[in-house]
């Protein structure tokens, strides 16, 4: 058992400085990633089916600053401010939270294959969200009346929380997490959540069905300011909390007993980490549906580049996750313009082969599980 977990963190492709201190490289990488996110944000504002360009926006701002008249047409103003801007904000929030929830979950389970999308946490969150959409007018009416725009993300959060908790209980025994059990339990929990979601979809009316369609593939197309406002505070809170988790996640890589010996209150830490994963996944699913593989691809790439130290891995994951999702969204909007591809298809087309590549590299190890 020990040997397997060890071999899973394979090191074949990573490089490191001679003295083993990768913190300088990590800080440099984070600075580069900040610039990358800036570029991706501009790209996100600049691309789309319409010809409204960022240049015209900047010209209009410059004109306003110098006291002249704003040159932006009403049409462009709506496209930029009410469509692309919220879409960019939601893209950043969702991309960051998907990547961070993947990284935290992998640290918690001490396994690079753990990802909310793969082990059924997203499915649980979807079940929560779909419950609100379908039953919000009837059975759950008091809840939606009380929670307003937060009903959807809150329900998705609860669904994700229940799945993560069950998954951890099933796959961890005496402080050891079994990889095989985790993946298989994830399949079972995901299938159960999808079956329950299917029952709800069966009950849905035509309008609800329309709302539900995007859950199947995941998309930022429905991004509005109100959605950004609903999920924004939750995701922002998660991102603010994650630096507090990094020391604990580092300690946990040595195993639960050693983490406790080093002074970590392990049980409380695990509960916090599970809540963070569920909140991040739930909020992301609530606004954009199931966008897969960001949580597995981003932390894995970063571990190869800057190492697995969570003090740097978590912020870098947030930045790279946001940048990648904005870029994928730009592709989704333009590749079949004027129509657009759901972004979940793009992340899956890129991410699924990547996942297989990780499996191939570890196949000798996984055979023994």
């Amino acid at each position: 058992m020990l040997q397997r977990t060890e071999a899973i963190g394979s090191t074949a492709h990573a490089v490191q400085p001679a003295d083993g201190d990768r913190s300088r490289r990590a800080r440099l990488a984070i600075a580069v990633l900040v610039l990358l996110l800036g570029a991706a944000s501009v790209l996100s504002l600049a691309t789309g089916a319409s010809d409204a360009s960022v240049a015209s926006v900047i010209r209009a701002w410059a004109a306003q600053l110098s006291g002249g008249d704003a040159q932006l047409s009403a049409r462009d103003r709506i496209i930029i401010y009410d469509i692309r801007f919220p879409r960019m904000v939601v893209g950043v929030l969702v991309g960051a939270s998907l990547a961070v929830s993947g990284a935290v979950m992998q640290g918690l389970f001490r396994n690079p294959l753990a990802d909310p999308g793969i082990v059924g946490v997203s499915a649980g969150a979807s079940l929560g969200a779909v419950s609100v959409i379908v039953l919000g007018g009837t059975v759950l009416a008091p809840v939606t009346a009380l929670a307003g725009i937060y009903a959807l993300p809150a329900a998705a959060f609860l669904g994700g929380l229940v799945s993560t908790f069950l998954l951890y209980r099933v796959s961890t025994r005496r402080g050891r997490t079994s990889v095989a059990t985790m993946l298989l339990a994830g399949i079972a929990l995901g299938a159960l959540a999808m079956a329950l979601t299917g029952i709800l979809i069966y009950l849905a009316d035509d309008q609800q069905l329309r709302d539900l369609t995007f859950w199947n593939m995941g998309s930022l197309a429905g991004a509005t300011w109100s959605k950004a406002l609903a999920a924004g505070p939750i995701i922002a809170m998660v991102l603010i909390c994650t630096p507090l988790l990094s020391g604990g996640l580092n300690a946990m890589t040595l195993g639960e007993a050693t983490a406790r010996h080093m002074g970590l209150a392990v049980q409380r830490f695990k509960t916090t980490a599970i809540i963070v994963v569920a909140a991040a996944t739930g909020a992301a699913v609530a606004v954009s549906g199931g966008i897969g593989f960001v949580g597995i691809v981003v932390p894995h790439l970063l571990r190869l580049m800057i190492g697995p130290d969570h003090r740097y891995l978590l912020p870098a994951s947030a930045l790279l996750g946001a940048s990648l999702l904005l870029s994928a969204d730009a592709v989704a909007r333009t590749i079949v313009a004027p129509a657009e591809l759901p972004i979940g298809i793009i992340t899956a087309v890129v991410g699924a082969p990547f996942f297989l590549w990780i499996l191939l590299r570890r196949r000798g190890v996984l055979d023994m599980l």
């Binding site: 001490r110 300690a251 002074g263 970590l264 697995p308």
Partner: protein, 267 residues
């Protein structure tokens, strides 16, 4: 001072350790010996705060059960039998973890190179850039010891001695490194700290220990200085084989005792 009185540890319904008694003073190496499955590791885990117990286990007069993990981490560091690592950390990064919790007791500038000093101490100077997972089992064990040393680097802080708990620290080491590690333990004790070690090697136990606890079937069978405890009758009964202390083999067969190592040789 660590005092264990009538401590019983159950895993499930089975009592693994029954009515254990132990006093481990600072300034001394206290060694626990006994056959496989005799409860040595379980007792050490209970003292480490990992397992619930009935009876009493006190560290510096305080019952350990209600102590917070961070309070324990300032008073003792624990070297586990084996450690796996989930992600590809470098040796330096692993040892550095020892500085992020607990309390090295070393001020500002000196703590900068504590990682390098700790690695040097366990004879792994120059290994800081290597990946932990690519090292041999014995090297990994020494990296873990370096991390553990960083957590409680100064044996005495604020006039309070601190403890090293070592669970089979030399089980996968060659003879030279066994001696190096036991020397580290002895130096730690001589500087005022305390050491509790689980060992299998009776010669090293006799060489380095100030007190020895002998366990069998979860019970304490003997406790005292090594010359009193490591005796024919007790060993034969506990290990269930005809051991004789100090018996020299018949002429012709080679035997090497760790006691024969010359301290003058380069370590």
């Amino acid at each position: 001072m660590i005092e264990v009185e009538n401590a019983t540890v159950r895993i499930g319904k089975k009592a693994i350790v029954t009515d254990a008694q132990l006093r481990a003073a600072s300034g001394e190496i206290t060694t626990i010996i006994g056959p496989n499955g005799s409860g040595k590791t379980t007792l050490l885990k209970a003292i480490s705060g990992d397992l619930a117990y009935s009876g009493s286990i006190r560290m510096h007069g305080r019952e350990i059960a209600p102590l917070q993990p961070w309070e324990m981490a300032m008073m003792r560091a624990v070297l586990p039998q084996s450690s796996s690592l989930a992600f590809p950390f470098t040796v330096r990064e692993v040892v550095r973890f020892g500085l992020t919790t607990g309390r090295a007791g070393v001020a500002g500038l000196q703590s900068q190179d504590l990682v390098a000093r700790a690695l040097d101490r366990v004879d792994l100077a120059g290994f800081s850039g290597r990946f932990y997972q690519e090292l041999s089992g014995g090297e990994q064990q020494r990296v873990q010891l370096a991390r553990v040393l960083c957590q409680v680097w100064e044996p005495v802080v604020d006039k309070t001695p601190r403890f090293l708990f070592l669970d089979e620290p030399i089980s996968s080491l060659d003879i030279r490194h066994q001696l190096i590690i036991m020397d580290i333990a002895r130096d730690y004790a001589r500087s005022g700290g305390g050491v509790i070690a689980v060992l299998h090697d009776l010669n090293l136990t006799s060489m380095y220990s100030d007190r020895v606890l002998v366990m069998q079937d979860g019970r304490c069978r003997g406790f005292g200085p090594p010359q009193d405890v490591i005796a024919d009758t007790l060993l034969q009964s506990v290990f269930e084989c005809g051991l004789r202390v100090g018996a020299v083999p018949a002429a012709g067969g080679a035997f090497v005792l760790p006691q024969s190592a010359q301290p003058s040789l380069p370590n």
